[in-house]
């Protein structure tokens, strides 16, 4: 059954918003999966709270529209309960790198098999323009009118240190590459992390800045961790430098689910017998 992949929900993103690129990319990937004969019934998209999260309303697949920063624990629960599910998390940069930072690092540590797409526009959009953990030093937002006094995180470096087994960066104005990165992330068995430089048309339009600096990682060996770290540090989300796009690091490693002891199926009667036996053993 081929379904209409877009719901009738009215889209409320600003014109020119990078979220559209991510949505269309995901829609194309899902359509491609269906064309290959894979059922979309087993795909779940988990979003946080923020502009990005509305994607849960717009895509006509099973979704969990969670809380700010909480995509990963919910996705972890889904995956623990049903390892057959293909779980894709869409999170914002405020969402994933501020309130949800601990969960993000633990997802990398656990190598839980899911795909994390961070819509990184480096500003809080839905709350109308405050700095986020990846805004550059001195960023003038509504909560920091004289400019931030702190350096941004480099999420790629963080994820490499955390143990993520797939680390990539995409850009919303390079859709074919973005599609390839997400596809590869979904195919990756383990925690796939993709930081997507996303244009926020209303509060932090970096189009010109990115356009002149992005380049594709070519001749880079994603199996080389040290090289990956070096490349990830080239641009630290603050100083002026060339901005590499592509897969920085990928390694095959057992995913959390493969190591987690699966419970054996048990009927209610068998279960009750075990409970009875535990009571008896306690006499």
């Amino acid at each position: 059954m081929t379904r209409n992949l877009i719901t009738p929900a009215q889209n409320t993103w600003c014109p020119g918003c990078g979220n559209f690129s991510i949505q269309h990319t995901l829609k194309d990937i899902l359509a491609g999966m269906e064309n290959e004969g894979r059922s979309l019934d087993n795909v779940v998209l988990v979003s946080g709270i923020g502009c990005h999260a509305k994607i849960a309303d717009y895509l006509n697949i099973s979704t969990v529209y969670t809380l700010h920063g909480r995509t990963i624990p919910v996705a972890t629960g889904l995956k623990l309960a049903n390892p057959e599910l293909t779980v894709i998390c869409c999170a914002g940069d405020g969402d994933a790198y501020a309130e949800g930072l601990d969960h993000l690092i633990f997802a990398a540590k656990r190598n839980i098999d899911l795909t994390m797409i961070v819509h990184n526009n480096r500003v809080y959009g839905l709350t109308t323009g405050q700095y986020t953990p990846t805004s550059p030093l001195g960023f003038k937002g509504k909560s920091t009118p004289t400019g931030t006094a702190e350096y941004p995180f480099n999420p790629l470096e963080l994820m490499l240190a955390g143990g993520a087994t797939y680390v990539a960066r995409g850009y919303t104005r390079k859709m074919p590459q973005l599609a390839a990165l997400i596809r590869q992330g979904i195919a990756h068995k383990g925690f796939a992390f993709i930081d997507v430089l996303q244009i926020c048309a209303s509060f932090f339009n970096m189009t010109e800045y990115y356009q002149s600096r992005v380049y594709d990682l070519a001749g880079h060996d994603p199996a080389d961790f040290d090289q990956a770290c070096k490349k990830a540090r080239e641009w630290d989300y603050n100083r002026d430098a060339p901005i590499a796009l592509g897969v920085f690091y990928e390694k095959g490693y057992p995913a959390f689910n493969d190591r987690f002891p699966l419970k054996k199926a048990m009927t209610a009667e068998e279960r009750q017998q075990q409970i009875h036996d535990l009571f008896v053993a306690a006499t």
Binding site: R70, P73, R271
Partner: protein
């Protein structure tokens, strides 16, 4: 009435807990009901620990102020407890105790040396000495050691035998000769109850006094077929619990008050998104870190109101292990039937104490399942409005079903909406679930009435304090009214239970009378309160005096 109390004390790290467990097994084999409670500071080594074993010919669920036997592993135990039990039979470890007073002593060190036994068997010497002083047949010791430490029984028995031969029987305990019952802690009972209710997954972060449930289910995960997961924080716990439930697995989470603080955003999410989830909240002394290893009943208002917005929730507060088993099973089943969060509200006293139980005596409550999504539900709508407010449930992975779970206000499909009429309609739908739930609860025993059930004076209480209340009521000829379900409040059953009551005295382990105020909200009235909030549970003796004071006023 046979009613015997034993106190075993020593330093933290001395194995006081396991010594208490063995003494409990001994009494159980003699045909007694037992109750075991441990008082320990939040320390791994050092500090004073003591276990109280009470054995009676009737069920008991509280410890006494007085003791019949005192087993002292160190001088501190004697200094602290001997003055309070002038006619105690004392056995002490001569190596640690300088002034044994009237007690008998054995040198544990000497026995271990002579038997070339390892230090871990030291407590068996103390148990052997106690057993002889109490006239417990040697055969009973053999049975207990063989059944409960099969690997090291011989070694421990050799050590115990030496001590057994070294002391005299002073005050023999009567042998009751009834079949031994199961000895189960409150948290074990909660685990078994959840398992009986169909638990697939248990997710928790360690926090006293809920941790022993995590340990028990982790230890029996394979046997019971339950997935057990310990993630990075209580925030992750409840969110992962929600993810697990959304994927169709019956899931429970557990914590104490501090962890529950972190869970409140997830609790509201479960309320709005109609995700079924059972939550153990085991209270300890608060606020904040409070006394981590001591008890309290000060989180009732918190669990009733936790989370922003309004949504139905189930709160049950069992008093002992038997009720904990039955109501944990019910809490999980009801959560799934109505797609609401349910909370099992325990406390340190209940969670960590041991009770005598017989599996066959535990009658589970009959709670049917509401249907899952069927052929009539195409296309599937996660929040389809129904008369009962309960929507058909489907999970991601179900063929053809687009399952949209949403923390925002949403429409029947689970798509975000800010439409005024829709928002109110869905709020009404959630409220209808509460109405349906109240109807179902009307058929369940939500209020326990005990003591002299037609007495004009009643003790009003909830949770574990009910055990001490029962004893006091029996002595003073009072009624005991104890709501087991605190949300939705069982108004009808409560009013019925109060028929003929002229004076209602609330007994609670908090400083403000939280149940008393809840009852007032529901049109009732507590005439007096008897409150305790020092982290220690009411003993029946203390409670009796406090109630008598109120009765005299």
């Amino acid at each position: 009435m046979k009613d015997i109390s034993v106190l075993i004390g020593g330093r933290a790290g001395d194995g006081i807990n396991s010594a208490g467990a063995v003494v409990a097994w001994l009494f159980s084999r003699l045909g007694y009901y037992v109750f075991v409670s441990t008082d320990y500071p939040s320390l791994i080594r050092g500090g004073h620990n003591f276990t109280m074993v009470r054995a009676a010919d009737h069920p008991v669920g509280a410890y006494n102020d007085r003791f019949d036997y005192l087993v002292a592993l160190n001088q501190e135990t004697l200094d602290l407890h001997a003055p309070h039990c002038p006619d105690c039979i004392i056995v002490a470890n001569a190596d640690q105790v300088k002034k044994p007073g009237s007690g008998q002593t054995i040198s544990v060190g000497e026995i271990l040396k002579e038997e070339s036994a390892p230090p871990v068997t030291g407590n068996s010497a103390m148990i052997g000495a106690f057993a002889k002083a109490a006239g417990i047949p040697w055969k009973t010791l053999e049975e207990v050691f063989t059944a409960h430490m099969p690997k090291a029984a011989d070694e421990n028995l050799r050590v115990a035998r030496r001590a057994y031969g070294a002391v005299n029987t002073v005050r023999p305990v009567p042998v009751l000769g009834k079949a031994p019952l199961s000895l189960i802690t409150g948290n074990e009972a909660i685990g078994l109850g959840l398992a009986s209710g169909g638990l697939d997954s248990y997710i928790a972060y360690p926090m006293t006094p809920s941790s022993t449930l995590l340990h028990y289910l982790a230890g029996n995960a394979e046997r019971l077929g339950i997935t057990v997961f310990h993630p990075e924080s209580e925030i992750a716990v409840i969110l992962a619990g929600i993810g697990s439930a959304v994927a169709g697995k019956k899931t429970a989470v557990g914590t104490s008050g501090g962890g529950f603080c972190l869970m409140t955003e997830g609790l509201s999410f479960a309320g709005m998104a109609e995700v079924p989830l059972a939550i153990l909240v085991s209270q300890r002394t608060g606020p904040s870190t409070g006394l981590p290893t001591y008890t309290g009943q000060a989180d009732l208002r918190f669990v009733l109101h936790a989370g922003q917005g309004e949504f139905p929730r189930i709160v049950v507060a069992p008093a002992d292990a038997g009720e904990a088993y039955v109501w944990s099973d019910a809490a999980l089943r009801l959560a799934w039937k109505y797609q609401v969060p349910s909370i099992v509200l325990s406390d340190k006293s209940l969670s960590e104490s041991t009770y005598s139980l017989r599996y066959e005596d535990l009658a589970l409550l009959s709670i049917g399942e509401r249907g899952t999504a069927g052929d009539n539900d195409v296309p599937y709508r996660r929040y389809r409005t129904t008369l009962s407010g309960v929507s058909p449930l489907a999970f991601p992975g179900t063929t053809g079903a687009v399952v949209k779970t949403n923390s925002y206000a949403h429409d029947e499909d689970g798509i975000t909406t800010e439409d005024a009429a829709l928002v109110a309609e869905m709020a009404d739908k959630r409220r209808r679930k509460e109405t349906a739930l109240i109807e179902e609860l009307a058929h369940l025993p939500c209020v326990s009435t005990g003591g002299k059930t037609d007495a004009p004076v009643a003790l009003l209480c909830w949770g574990s304090v009910g055990n001490a209340c029962s004893e006091v009521a029996a002595e003073l000829g009072l009624r005991v009214i104890r709501p087991l379900v605190l949300s939705p409040f069982p108004d009808r059953q409560f009013t019925d239970a109060c028929t003929g009551v002229e004076r209602l005295i609330a007994v609670e382990e908090n400083a403000t009378g939280q149940l008393a105020s809840l009852v007032k909200e529901h049109g009732g009235r507590a005439d007096a309160t008897v409150l305790k909030y020092d982290g220690r549970p009411f003993t029946p003796e203390e409670l009796k005096l406090r109630v008598q004071e109120v009765l005299a006023s």
